[in-house]
Symmetry: C2
Subunit: 667 residues, 2 copies
Amino acid sequence: MIPDTELPIPANGPGADVQAMADAIRFLALDSILNAGEGHQGVPLGMAEIAATLYARHLKANPKDPLWPDRDRVVLSNGHGSMLLYALLHLAGYDHVTVDALKSFRKLYSVCAGHPEIEQEAGIEITTGLLGQGIACAVGMAVAEQRLAAEFGAGLVDHRTWAFVGDGCLQEGIGQEAISLAGHLRLGKLTFLWDDNHITDDGDTALSISEDVPERFRAAGWHVQAVDGHDIGAIDVAMRMAMLDPRPSIIACRTVIARGIPRLQGKRGGHSAPLVPGDADEARVARGWHHPPFEVPAAVRADWARAMTRGAAAQAAWTERLATHPQAAAFRRWKAGALPEDWDGIVARLTREVATAEPHPTIAASGEICDALAGHLPETLVLCADLEAPTDHKRSRAAFTSAERAGSYVHCGVREHLMGAMADGIAAHGGLRPINVTYLAFADYERPAMRMAALMGLPALFVFSHDSIGVGSNGPTHQPVEILASFRAMPNMRVFRPADAVETAEAWAIALETRDGPSLLALSKQPAEQVRSPGAANLTRRGAYVLSEPGCRRDLTLIATGTEVGLAMRAQRALAGQGIGAAVVSMPCWELFEAQEPEYREAVLGTAPRIAIEAALSFGWDRWLRPADRFIGMQGFGASARADVLYDHFGLTEASIVATAHGLLGR
Amino acid sequence: MIPDTELPIPANGPGADVQAMADAIRFLALDSILNAGEGHQGVPLGMAEIAATLYARHLKANPKDPLWPDRDRVVLSNGHGSMLLYALLHLAGYDHVTVDALKSFRKLYSVCAGHPEIEQEAGIEITTGLLGQGIACAVGMAVAEQRLAAEFGAGLVDHRTWAFVGDGCLQEGIGQEAISLAGHLRLGKLTFLWDDNHITDDGDTALSISEDVPERFRAAGWHVQAVDGHDIGAIDVAMRMAMLDPRPSIIACRTVIARGIPRLQGKRGGHSAPLVPGDADEARVARGWHHPPFEVPAAVRADWARAMTRGAAAQAAWTERLATHPQAAAFRRWKAGALPEDWDGIVARLTREVATAEPHPTIAASGEICDALAGHLPETLVLCADLEAPTDHKRSRAAFTSAERAGSYVHCGVREHLMGAMADGIAAHGGLRPINVTYLAFADYERPAMRMAALMGLPALFVFSHDSIGVGSNGPTHQPVEILASFRAMPNMRVFRPADAVETAEAWAIALETRDGPSLLALSKQPAEQVRSPGAANLTRRGAYVLSEPGCRRDLTLIATGTEVGLAMRAQRALAGQGIGAAVVSMPCWELFEAQEPEYREAVLGTAPRIAIEAALSFGWDRWLRPADRFIGMQGFGASARADVLYDHFGLTEASIVATAHGLLGR
């Protein structure tokens, strides 16, 4: 036990009845689940004491200003236990989470959805529920806090990240990646509160795990404590110790799942077995809670209200500091996600700089752009999964490490899934613009986290190199053929495959201007022919455009993306020599093109026969092709050989375009 | 040190010069990489001693019969180091891996591809290269061996799984999942040979990891040893100890990356920096290897040949045991992947059994089928990621556990990615039919492993429940809307979304009859109306078919999949009442329909206006719809509410089909 005077945040007065505060959570959750007719009671009933202790004694947040930037972040990684969070938010006084909201639990467009759906005004920091995502996002939030604190100082940025964690989160690979990197980066303000209840959906955790979880955390450099998860005093002390330790902390809280329901507590059915009204009655007797459903005694409400004054007071002091802070303007710009003044000028300059006459890999152009933006947009934070050299997005950036928090490049190791979720956490935290970099083949590893970015509408940028068979002899495992289509299929994800450096710069500009969803850039390892000159408007904004009209009439339209646009341009010239007029349409972003007026789309695509060319499968291309039109691309997986050999082998050549044109036009 | 007499497999005679055997690997790899002009020298040069010791002293395999079922399995999880494997296979005497093959390294359709591509006749057990997949597949192989040994006894099945492992494999989440479950299941015949070289692509591993890797393995119940990875004696002893220990073993082999090239060894560039001819010259001097490129001295070749006689002798003894084994016929059938006699009768019976008049969730029908097959096809092995109750595919099956290897149901824990790769490993091992079960929302977690199954053409079955907004109030995180499309986009993956229990049985039959690729079943949580009666031919085989013709002329074609087929049938009846003749086409599998003759496809789809109905996004549906046709489905992500509320909310209703039909027909 350490003396109170050494503790960073004093405990509240001894007057608060934290056990009653916990029981208030327990019964609001129970009543809400019974009212909804379904839900997961295991977590809210099992973690009520842990949650109440956190909010009563330690959490820094102001429910009356949920968006206060320096608030502690709370992540419910075991999102199926969402009623824990909703009960907490209601009791803490978040206006959006009324009793009526609790009564609408699991109903259409209720703030109390089945799993937490991001709504920061309501205190819901991030969408969780697919196991493991939450704690990985929490790692991103903790990184964001440290990066921002390095920039603006502890006077403006000094908060903690708390994550409620279930067994499933710790079994998932992404959770394991999170443990490893958080320990490596010594994210000392990150605390996991593990609901160590020995039960998963299948029953006893012993069915599927026998590892020594605390030892696993110790091996990764974490501060590990174990407590009785219903002993408020012990939880309180452990939280204090966690706050004092420079390492990330896990508190293994031994809990009884569904604690309070005699029929279910400690059992497999405690997780989510359907409740009956008798369960609530018996729980009320068992816990000595003699209040009607949804009713919280005034004394308990008063304890909750008093607890939350700590955050309000902290915010008041913070607001005073901000008012006189020399970097206040920059802080506000970063926080707002606003682009710097003269953004258009910056983009125009860097587009000119990256545009070269020589063929150039689009991933290299992207690296140049990213580097140029490091100065203009210091709020960009680049994450890369052990591919610094082949993607080259570090350049002048310093690394963000355990010792140096001012860096804007995170070596994430070979942990793509974590990296994706960190980007979500960083974007949800606010103040920084996350940029992920790896190979497109590894997008499948990141995909669940990218889906979360799309679902949440977070402005994250996912940059991928090695976008096609252009990978060459590393072979089909590393050659995307279906991955473009798989992301074009994802709602709210903008997929860009730029033709050259200019389109790459345009895509970057659009991605950074986009505040309501993620963007994906699929870029080439191999040199892309330069098909555009800088100076004109950002043509990529319309998704597709006529890059080159034929000299006279349009006999044919060639539609291409990425490196195949250069190929189409060469075919256009060859066809012109044969008296065939072909327009070349560059189509870097389907989603933006789909959003244009039909008249624009029709004008671009034209009425002439069409040939689409893309070094990928045709899946999805029927959207832009009519039955008589043709597609030149891949038929299946790639192969291991040099890129030029593969392009020939799979028929992605000028000659094949010309021959297809002849067939199509009956010549 | 333990006396030789206690060791399970005696070492070869002291005559073999294992160091020279190792240097032969080293220089064949170096020469091949120089010849190809690119490649990753770090692994083959760094792991040469480890590999030579394994093959010289311990491996049980017969290069003259690469498919011998009781061979040890070798997995190169750090697949970028593929030249290690090719050099090994060449020296061990696998006929496919000639010197010419080595000289074709990284050339089109060479057996020596950039990353290992499965070709078991050549000794390449499995495709690897996306980091972490290999060791997860190895866990599957080790499970397969134990399950088969329980069935047929150690006389027929008694082999080990050895995996070469790099740092990246251990950083990936899937690798962490593999460690955890392998320890839990006490897979004592699994050994990881870790290339602990302190270097990843970015440079020193300290850039991205500081965890105590051996401790991490110990926490998961592994047997852990550490050796100098160039000390053949030490490696030999560690391998013996690993074979004696009942736990899975990791041997942390401290190695010098690219050992032998003075300019690069131990450095970041050792990983894959381009080599120059001088590197080979200097390496020859440094290692005292005075032989021309691709030349292996006769004495070294003789040592290699002698080493491999151990496996040949073991196979000879095994063949004798098989000849008189009472279960020889069953063993051969399992091994061949052949279906039991009277398969058609079995399928017909179970189709009758699952077909009910009442609406029934297709996941429940699948559970019944899986259970019925447990007796007929005892070689099926079901893996489930902590969703036993809601997917209900365990039923009469016993669990495969650390104590009981005869079980055919593996509780994989909340580790979907591992589970997918285990299915790949089990299928590649042979003898068993893996069946994975989880929710479709988690298919994104499994996807990279499913892609590997498709790429390798492995007969794995991926069963998913909760296929749509039918999930209900668990909300959009758990509701697939784009996942069907994302897998329809994947080559060689058959995606089935059956309409009812009969189509579910048909899809199961097709999946189990398919030997050359994986199948995916997307099944409903909510009851599906029964639209088919058993007895007819397997209509699902054609991918789509006319389920119901209109009474008279066809004014309209309704195309649907899954639970929406029942909806289409109701709409058909409503339209018939209004004098509109609508045909209903059930389209459970696009890939199979695509493979039909155009005439059949045209007859099914007809010339009348079409409405497609699927509780998913329209992406990809343009393949089957003309511009004037309509799609009724989702526009974006789902929401949290009861399934029936969501179907109404998103317009997936009989009324909306009828209204759309009116609009389309101008009524």
